[in-house]
């Protein structure tokens, strides 16, 4: 007769045995997981409804001929075929590329320069930092209106200052040659605060011992900047470049307020053209096709940056 030993009696499992019958992690930490999902849900719902949904919808609409009011008709890829001979579309894309590839490096240089300056341990740095961040924190349309006044050829402040140095300033916003540079200048002023804050945060986490070691080794300031600061700042630079390029490809409000795309179409940006196609010309399908092309451009450029990241971005020395 088998006798149950006390040890066997006390060995009865208090938890389910390991193996296939074990409860999954989700249920084991059920209450925490549910709470996490509850917190994530509004954000996730917002992403699905306001970001992913519209992208999918734009993809579907790009295959339609739809003037908003009449029933849409499926026309396949005809809207994409229209893009080829549309000189205004390519001109708008060219203007957007011009804006992006001039304004982004300029903004980065100004941001980095100011961040380095503020990182020197200036007194009242918080005040300077706040003041320099103000343009970024201000609504673009309001800033654009102020710059329109600054750019007035005859009575504007910019030409008045140039005049004090004997320079006859251009007719900024109505000049074929100067309208885009004027937009870029305003955008750099508006945007540098964002990069400056990111760079400043990056600079402040670089270990001081590295600078001390460089000093002991007799490295010049420029050599220290190249060998220590820039490599350790590269994640911040990478983040700022990616977000700035994406933002610049979507430039719209300042161009609309300051030049309305003119003179001619010299400052018509791609998003402005998309808006006009969709809501002034009532060609929703064609506007959606343009949006998809813009989306593809941004995806390709961002993917290229992430590929380059492997070679250029250093997360440690």
């Amino acid at each position: 007769m088998a006798v149950e030993t006390p040890a066997a009696a006390t060995a009865a499992p208090r938890r389910p045995p390991r193996g296939p019958l074990r409860r999954p992690r989700f249920w084991r930490h059920g209450s925490e997981t549910v709470a996490a999902w509850l917190f994530l849900l509004p954000s996730l719902a917002g992403f699905l409804v306001f970001t992913a949904g519209p992208v999918v919808a734009a993809g579907v609409i790009s295959l339609l001929d739809w003037n908003l009011f009449s029933p849409p008709h499926f026309i396949g890829l005809d809207n994409f075929a229209r893009l080829g001979p549309d000189t205004t579309f390519w001109s708008a894309l060219g203007n957007t590329a011009y804006f992006t590839f001039v304004s982004v490096p300029l903004t980065l240089l100004v941001s980095l320069g100011l961040a380095l300056l503020l990182n020197q341990g200036l007194r009242r740095m918080a005040v300077f930092r706040s003041l320099l961040l103000l343009p970024y924190a201000t609504i673009t349309v309001a800033v654009a209106f102020v710059w329109v006044w600054l750019y007035i050829p005859h009575d504007g402040l910019i030409n008045a200052v140039l005049g004090a140095f004997g320079i006859d300033g251009p007719a900024w916003l109505v000049s074929d040659d100067w309208a885009m540079p004027a937009l870029i200048l305003m955008s750099v002023w508006k945007s540098f605060g964002f990069g400056m804050v990111i760079f400043l945060a990056g600079l402040q986490v670089i270990p001081q011992q590295l600078y001390e070691a460089a000093r002991v080794d007799g490295a010049s300031p420029w050599r220290t900047f190249r060998a220590v600061t820039l490599p350790l700042l590269s994640p911040s630079v990478f983040f700022t470049v990616v977000t700035s390029i994406i933002g610049s490809f979507q430039v719209f409000d300042q161009a609309l307020v300051m030049t309305d795309g003119g003179p001619g179409s010299s400052t018509t940006t791609l998003v402005m053209y998309i808006y006009r196609t969709g809501f002034q010309n009532y060609e929703q399908g064609y506007a959606a096709a343009q949006s998809m092309v813009l989306f593809a451009f941004i995806v390709v450029i961002t993917a290229a940056q992430f590929l380059l990241q492997r070679r250029l971005v250093h997360y440690d020395l």
Binding site: L38, N67, F69, H154, D176, M258, G262, P263, Y282
Partner: protein, 437 residues
Amino acid sequence: MSSSFPRRALLKGAALGGLATTGALSGCSSGPPPGTATWSMWSSSPEENRVWADFGRYVERRMHIRSASTLTPSDGYPTKLDLQLVSGTAGMVTALNGWLIPTYASRGAHRPLDDLIAADPDFDLDDFYPAIRSISSFADHTYAIGFDVAPTVLYYNRTLLERNGVDPPSPTEPMSWDTFRDLAIELSKPKDQYGFTCAPTIDDLVSWIYCAGGDVLDGDRDTSPLDAPEALQAIHYVVDLFVKDRVTPPIDNLVAQNASGASLANFLQGNVAFMQNGPWQVLNVRKAPFTWDIVPFPAGPAGSTPRVSGSGFAIPSGVKDDDLDLAWRLLKTLTSTGALNIYARAGRNNPARVSAASAFEPPPANLGIVQRILKGEVAGGHPFNVTTNWNRVRLLLGQDLPRAFLGQVSAREAIDGVMPRLNALMRQHRDAVRQAT
């Protein structure tokens, strides 16, 4: 007794509360209750807001139902209306600027009103000026009932003219183009004083083109007659006022110049002798710190026949059944003599009804010429004829013509540059008309 509230429980509560709030807000509906008279209108100033508030009270008094108006600044009005029409949230009656009527009519966004007019013996369409009836029609159907109509006129700064020893122009005999140009040059002599202001846009330029006997569109052909000698003569004349004669304030900003109020802002500064504009600006010019008046538009080779513009109320296609009956009654009330008397007494613009016209009272002293021009007693006018894709025409010309006004290209070069694209838009317009009919 103290009670503890664990952090985890607090966070869970916050998450659930947030979700509940989000759900509650998404389920809310803020639309007016059924049976409310809903209508949409543009409004860009407190003065205009007051006029529409008076309209709302008038509707409630006459119809014994609640009135709910949606007022939007004029610049954003068409876009908002588009979205409301598509989403089915537009008012049962919507205001439409005349140049947008063919656009909406050809796309089926608004319904023709002929059946409602025919079934209503109380409604007298003949009480409306012929110009607004023409502007409110598309493909031989009436799509809107007008609430204002007026020709472009010439405002002049009487104080400035007197200071320069110049007699005021005749309120009944339009100046010739040559006389006007000479006067504008004479009044531009002192520094920072200018003879004339207008916007370098097709909407202002078209009045000169009509006065030269030209047009932007010709319904019988595939091509625009904008490069015809008559139109080119007018474009050359106005461009010369800007570039050669330099009688206009410098163009500093294309966006501001495109805005309807840009030339008004120039005029209100007090250093501009003449401004091309419509009587819809009387309300705003009354704020001017100088004396002023209006006279007929200068007469070109075809006489004084500037553009006559107007606006009306229309019913969206989605309004049906009982709502349609209510919408028609609302539309009739909003365009009744009583309502338009409110509109005219406020000086908002010349009313579209002949029976309400006398309410549009001076000042200025010559305001009566507006009605006399519409009746054909003084000078004349030309209905502002537009295409079903006028937005695109306007955008095309708005982008390319300013270069001529800035002296960057000649008027001829600017016109030659746009003609292929303009003709493509004309063909598109003709196709849209054919499909709609």
